[in-house]
Symmetry: C2
Subunit: 235 residues, 2 copies
């Protein structure tokens, strides 16, 4: 059975991915702070660890889940992340910046490391950036800086000398707002027809794997929803 | 006496800045892990702290050095940083990435916070990026990702709603290789006529402060040395 890994598989988008790939017959490993019972295996991270500690613990858990170095993943989808607003004058500027680095940058670095160790040649690695971070983000500085870092990481990983297994393909999807219960709760009056249903992203990522969706290596892919229709475009 | 702060004032470039500004009659605060005896005051950081802990401790030390909320800095020069090579397949990929985030991104976030609290209106904040990080850096992934994050931070901080005091100007200098004893030691056979003398950077930064050097707010400024002559250009 083909195996995939969802990094952040207990979040709203991640849960959707786990369900979607399970329904298509894949075996799914969830990496997250929280268990997702629907996944075949959970490699759980602990809070309060350094990047190195967390990376090592997760790598060992994923190795155990795969049960041997010969067993490889066909895809790693990193959809871990979070959001925090605030500029340099905000009371909690450093705290929210630290959280954004942990949630988006550290998870992406670890996903890259998991790809090095556990992705099969020609496999697929996707990260999650943010369309907003292509420009300045003065009202959400930590968030924008962290996502800009993820964008740069993806460009690096697509280079032939990045250290990833032969032929691995990598991109980043850049959503605007994903239609999650949390976002509905905090932005009840927003125009929800412009929010991206998680299912649309799950289908696109599966399409990358099956070849049904066009894949451009090393690219940042905007995810824009309008009137309920989602379009994926290279930026 | 006009006061400036050098973040990273015990490193090779930072020491040069401290000497230069002292020679021009400025009072200088050094923020670093190590003391610089030439500085008027040392606000020392501790290893192994979180971004929030380190930021708070440094902010308190700088407050004490300034001796009252009415006493403000006319400039903050963040030249903290370091270098590590390695791609995603390197044994110490996560370790070097973590170090790069700490040395370049965390210091820049804290410098931004210090600017919010202690820089006078119309004051000057400069960060240190890297010319290489404008493109992919697959052979030094952690370094490139961290510097790309710094570039984004600078763009954010230059926006009117960034939370910095009124009229503060900010940019990033993007050197290639700085002519330091450490770089001479590890790259003895490189073409040193293409390396940038720290003094050239010190003079440029002082020029920003006096008005002798043209300053473009929010810009990334390449620092390129050829045949011993250094040119600073907007990229």
């Amino acid at each position: 059975m083909s195996k995939i890994l969802v990094y952040g598989g207990a979040g709203a988008l991640g849960r959707c991915l786990v369900s979607h790939f399970k329904s298509k017959g894949y075996a799914v490993i969830n990496v997250d702070f929280f268990e997702n019972k629907e996944a075949d295996f959970n490699a759980l991270a602990k809070e309060g660890q350094t990047l190195v500690q967390q990376g090592q613990a997760i790598d060992e858990a994923v190795s155990a889940a795969l049960g041997g170095a010969a067993n490889k993943l066909c895809a790693i989808f990193c959809v871990a992340g979070g959001w925090a607003g605030g500029n340099a004058g905000s009371e909690d500027f450093l705290k929210s910046s630290e959280t954004m680095l942990n949630q988006s940058v550290n998870s992406s670095f670890i996903a890259a490391r998991l790809a090095t160790n556990h992705l099969k040649p020609g496999g697929l690695l996707t990260m999650t950036g943010a369309l907003a971070a292509l420009e300045a983000t003065p009202g959400m500085i930590g968030y924008g800086v962290a996502k800009a870092a993820v964008h740069h990481l993806v460009k690096n990983l697509a280079e032939p000398s990045s250290g990833l297994p032969e032929g691995v393909k990598v991109n980043a999807i850049l959503p605007v707002t994903i239609d999650t219960p949390m976002n509905r709760k905090f932005m009840p009056n927003a125009d929800h027809s412009k929010w991206t249903p998680p299912e649309d992203i799950a289908k696109q990522l599966e399409g990358y794997l099956t070849g049904a969706s066009h894949f451009s290596n090393g690219k940042l892919i905007s995810v824009v929803t309008d009137n309920g229709t989602t379009t994926f475009l290279e930026v």
